[in-house]
C-alpha cells in the first residue's frame, strides 16, 4: 500500500525563520502531489499542487515545494515564516496509474510560529 511520511510532527519557529517540511512517499510511478493546510478553526485548503512539468511549484502565501522524483520527496519551503502561518500542514499523494483513485495523506506537521 502507498504511504506518505512527514518526518516533522511539531515544528516551532520564530517569525522570519525559514521553513522546510519534509514529505516522502512510497509509490514509484506517476503521481500527483499536494500540500494542504489547516489553519486553526478553518477548513483544510489547498496550499499547492504538482501534476507535471516544472518540479518547483509555487503556492499561496509564499510557499513553494520541490518534487524530487529520485528521492520520492515533495518538501515544502518558505523563506520567511509569519505568525499567521501557524497551522497544520498535510502532504498528500495520488498515484495516477494504479487503481487507487484517492489521495493518501501524511500524518501532518503542526507548525507553531512565535512572534
Amino acid at each position: 500500500a502507498q504511504s506518505v511520511s512527514q518526518h516533522n510532527h511539531h515544528v516551532i519557529l520564530s517569525e522570519a525563520a525559514s521553513l522546510e517540511l519534509g514529505c516522502n512517499y512510497s509509490y514509484g510511478g506517476t503521481v500527483n502531489l499536494f500540500w494542504y493546510v489547516q489553519y486553526p478553526g478553518q477548513h483544510l485548503q489547498l496550499l499547492l499542487k504538482y501534476f507535471s512539468g516544472d518540479p518547483l511549484v509555487k503556492g499561496i502565501k509564499g510557499f513553494e515545494a520541490e518534487f524530487i522524483k529520485s528521492k520520492f520527496s515533495f518538501n515544502l519551503r518558505k523563506p520567511s515564516v509569519q505568525w499567521s502561518d501557524t497551522a497544520e500542514y498535510f502532504c498528500a499523494v495520488n498515484p495516477m496509474d494504479t487503481g487507487r483513485r484517492a489521495l493518501t495523506f501524511g500524518s501532518g506537521t503542526r507548525l507553531q510560529v512565535q512572534p
Binding site: A1, V4, Q6, H9, N32, F34, Y36, H43, L44, Q45, L46, K49, F51, S52, F90, A92, N94, M96, R101, A102, L103, T104, F105, G106, S107, G108
Partner: protein, 115 residues
C-alpha cells in the same frame, strides 16, 4: 467556488446508536470522499464514491457504510457507533481524477463523540 457542506458540526451519540453524517456539494463534482482525521494519524480514507451509486472502500472502512443516491449528496453511516469512532469526519469532493481536476475541496468537518 465549490462549496462542500456537512450538515452537522458537532454530534454526541451513545454506543450502539446509528449515526448519519451528511455531505452536500454544489458544483456537480463526480467524486466524493469521506476521511477521518485523528491527531498524529492525519487523514485516513474511509470510503469514496466516483459516481452516483458507485463506491469503493478506502483504508479503514470497517464499521462504516456509505450511500450516494444523488450526485450532490454523499452520506456516511455508522451502523452501530463505538467509542473508537470518536473523531473528526471530513467530507471532500473533486471534479475528477484527470490532472487539473484532481483537487479536493473539503467541508468544515463533523466532530463526532461517542459515549
Amino acid at each position: 467556488d465549490v462549496k462542500v457542506t456537512q450538515s452537522s458540526r458537532y454530534l454526541v451519540k451513545r454506543t450502539g446508536e446509528k449515526v448519519f453524517l451528511e455531505c452536500v456539494q454544489d458544483m456537480d463534482h463526480e467524486n466524493m470522499f469521506w476521511y477521518r482525521q485523528d491527531p498524529g494519524l492525519g487523514l485516513r480514507l474511509i470510503y469514496f464514491s466516483y459516481d452516483v451509486k458507485m463506491k469503493e472502500k478506502g483504508d479503514i472502512p470497517e464499521g462504516y457504510s456509505v450511500s450516494r443516491e444523488k450526485k450532490e449528496r454523499f452520506s456516511l453511516i455508522l451502523e452501530s457507533a463505538s467509542t473508537n469512532q470518536t473523531s473528526m469526519y471530513l467530507c471532500a469532493s473533486r471534479q475528477g481524477l484527470v490532472s487539473g481536476a484532481n483537487v479536493l475541496t473539503f467541508g468544515a468537518g463533523s466532530r463526532l463523540t461517542v459515549l
